[in-house]
């Protein structure tokens, strides 16, 4: 699973909201250009950020999937695009420069977008994200939905383990995997988990209402998620960048 990794890097320190905005601008700009060189440059930059932020490329999970998927994407593009200068032409198989360029283009764009999103997740503490969203004006009821969800993910993982053990103890076989046993396990896992969730909801409701959650439309926060000069500078830079590339792309039609 891709999740937050604690490190001390500039990427970790950027305010989560600036980071989201930059991520979106980055992804959007990839769709504005049709040059394969730019997409490759973008992908290389993202991978470079993995190294610089201390996360390291080894933390990218599902490598097998990405390699197979990228290869298939590449081959399909190469085989189906038949325009342009032919490098190899044997009737059925025709490989062209256009095909190869477009194949590189698609693979690089796909990987750049996926890996940059992963990088965002791995360098952003979810709790900080929730709090910064609330402080930026998102109603705190929604913000706390996220906080509470994050709070209970490990609890439910633990409980699922307990339920599985209890099933095994009562002879619901976990040694052999068949469609029937998978169905049974899903069914008999779901029911107990719902039951204990209901109990958590009761307790949590009393606990949160008992501490005046929802008493007013706004609330204060003991600490502001920092919004420093660097965050503002980054935000301004990326907006200028966005305007720049939009002008570059559509400029002739705009003016």
């Amino acid at each position: 699973m891709i999740k937050y990794i604690e490190k001390e890097s500039f990427l970790h320190r950027i305010n989560p909201i600036s980071k989201i905005v930059i991520l979106f601008i980055f992804a959007y700009s990839l769709f504005l250009f049709n040059y394969w060189e730019i997409e490759v440059l973008a992908l290389v930059s993202v991978l470079f950020l993995y190294v610089v932020s201390g996360i390291g490329l080894s933390k990218i999970e599902g490598k097998k999937f990405f390699i197979t998927f990228s290869l298939s994407l590449f081959i399909i593009n190469v085989l189906f695009i038949r325009e342009g200068d032919a490098i190899l032409n044997s009737g059925i198989i025709k490989i062209t420069t256009n095909g190869i360029e477009f194949a590189i283009f698609s693979v690089a764009r796909f990987l750049a977008i996926v890996f940059s999103s992963f990088l965002f997740v791995m360098t952003t503490e979810p709790n900080k994200l929730a709090y910064s969203l609330m402080q930026a004006g998102i109603p705190y009821r929604y913000g706390f939905t996220l906080v509470v969800a994050l709070r209970f993910v490990p609890t439910f993982q633990f409980e699922t383990g307990n339920v599985r053990n209890a099933q095994a103890a009562r002879g619901l076989s976990v040694d052999k995997i068949s469609i029937k046993s998978l169905y049974m396990m899903a069914r008999y896992t779901f029911i107990p988990l719902i039951r204990s969730t209901m109990q958590y909801i009761d307790t949590l409701t009393v606990s949160m209402e008992g501490r005046c959650f929802g008493a007013y439309d706004t609330r204060t926060y003991i600490e502001e998620v920092g919004y420093g000069k660097k965050d503002v500078a980054l935000l301004i830079l990326s907006v200028i960048f966005l305007i720049g590339i939009i002008y570059q792309r559509f400029g002739q039609n705009l003016f």
């Binding site: 709790n127 709070r151 339920v163 095994a168 009562r170 009393v206 008992g210």
Partner: protein, 476 residues
């Protein structure tokens, strides 16, 4: 301060009254203990005082705090006056960091951050978690979580503090800590405190009055308690000991690079009852799960009826080892009590015909077509044990079977344990309740940090634990 007059309450959709004609007035600064069997209405009364049951049922009579009618107020108006700490430390924490949790209520009241910080420091110190500010909630133990919950309620400076069985999920060491905290609060503030609790022993010199409740009514209010003899069921006779069914030799278990159990050796014979004690996280559950083959030794071996668990699969082991887990909700799978009892036998392919008899033994015969969902906590626990009994295993493992059980249920389970023992079964139970250990003569095994500290008869175990300052595990 609190004035309750002829107060009755019944939840919507329920015929029976959860509270009936309650009359109680509590003065400012008073320390009240509420005691009674499970389902007697203690928690309902607490929730009523906290204002949580407005719109959840029908009431008559009056319940006032400082002259304010609780049932006509918004919850948060009452919450400013009444703070409540619940049984389950896990469920009542809603954020990921201690600091955020303790500040949560004050933030909701729109207190400026500077003031929050001052109060935070003050109350975290009072509760004994002054260094915890930046700790991750996930890194805390149950007792520490409960302290965070107390601090987060205290920070709002309520006039009344209600503790609803605050230690029933905790081990004896943590339990003692929580009661020490409560006594600290009592000393340093003039807060009115209401504690719902079975373990009166811990509260000795703190309380002013004890309210005994029964079936929704107040049966008795008394000023000084007489010492009660716990659990009349005390079977000391030495029964028959047959052949050895469990043999553990040099078991060491590592998980994620951490040693959880180290060099455990233990053997148990037919007709033997073993009580395992130790702090939460000392490895008790991990050890027991080895009997089911859910965990397998990193070093050493575990043999069940002669067979090495490494060579047998879980489903075969579970046929001989009946395991009742801590949380009843995690081990009830079917829609009716009857089906639930048949769940195990069906999976194992056992011809099961004494269902009625077992339901009778566990006093569940009136519920056979009911959904387990409708049962009380104590009844669910009896159902868990009955469901294991349905498969009639040779070895019975009960992980914390007495948590949240009233005296009646506890005795029923203890009696059953002794009956099974006489039939040559091995019973292993984990318990945190010092009252149970003190009133029985079972073999006791004390685990600390994954090692056996002592394994023996009560007398010898008590004296060793006293030397190691673990006397919390026993009474007096």
């Amino acid at each position: 301060m609190i004035n309750i007059k002829d107060f009755s309450f019944s939840y919507f959709g329920e015929n029976k009254k959860s509270l009936e004609k309650i009359n109680l007035s509590v003065n400012k600064g008073e320390f009240i203990v509420i005691n009674g069997d499970s389902g007697c209405g203690k928690s309902t009364l607490a929730l009523c005082i906290g204002g949580f049951l407005r719109g959840k049922g029908e009431k008559s009579g009056s319940l006032e705090i400082d002259g304010l009618d609780v049932f006509s107020q918004e919850i948060f108006e009452i919450s400013k006056k009444v703070g409540i700490i619940q049984q389950d430390p896990e469920g009542q924490i809603c954020t990921l960091r201690v600091k955020n949790e303790v500040a949560f209520g004050l933030e909701n009241l729109r207190i400026p951050p500077k003031e929050i910080k001052k109060k935070l420091g003050h109350y975290m110190k009072m509760v004994g978690i002054q260094d915890f500010e930046n700790r991750d909630i996930f890194s805390l133990s149950g007792g520490e979580k409960q302290k965070v919950a107390i601090a987060s309620v205290m920070a709002m400076e309520p006039e009344i503090l209600i503790f609803d069985e605050p230690t029933s999920n905790l081990d004896p060491v943590a339990t003692k800590e929580i009661f020490r905290t409560i006594s600290e609060i009592k000393k340093k503030t003039n807060i009115t405190i209401i504690v719902i609790e079975h373990k009166l022993g811990y509260l000795e010199d703190l309380w002013d009055r004890i309210v005994y409740m029964e079936k929704g009514k107040i049966r008795n209010i008394c000023k000084k308690s007489s010492k009660k003899n716990y659990f009349s069921w005390n079977n000391n006779e030495n029964g028959y000991l047959g052949k050895s069914l469990i043999d553990i030799n040099g078991l060491t278990f590592e998980k994620n690079g951490k040693t959880i159990l180290s060099n455990i050796s233990l053997s148990l014979k037919e007709g033997e009852v073993l009580s395992i004690i130790g702090k939460n996280g000392s490895g008790k559950t991990t050890l027991l799960l080895h009997l089911l083959g859910i965990y397998r030794p990193t070093v050493g071996e575990v043999r069940i009826m002669g067979e090495d668990t490494r060579n047998v699969n879980v489903s075969k082991l579970s046929r001989n080892v009946g395991y009742v887990f801590q949380n009843p909700n995690h081990q009830i799978f079917e829609e009716t009590v009857w089906k639930e009892l048949n769940f195990g036998p069906k999976n194992f392919g056992i011809n099961f015909h004494n269902c009625e008899e077992i339901l009778n033994d566990f006093q569940l015969n009136d519920y056979q077509n009911k959904s387990p969902q409708e049962l009380s906590f104590g009844e669910k626990r009896r159902l868990n044990i009955a469901s294991i009994k349905a498969c009639d295993p040779k070895i019975i493992v009960l992980d914390e079977p007495f948590v949240g059980q009233d005296d009646k249920n506890t005795e029923l389970i203890l009696k059953w344990i002794d009956n099974e023992r006489k039939k040559g079964k091995i019973i292993i139970y984990v318990s945190h309740d010092p009252r149970i250990l003190s009133s029985r003569e079972d073999r006791i095994l004390f685990l600390e940090e994954g090692k056996i500290v002592v394994d023996g008869k009560k007398k010898e175990v008590i004296s060793i634990l006293r030397d190691l300052s673990f006397e919390e595990f026993f009474l007096g």
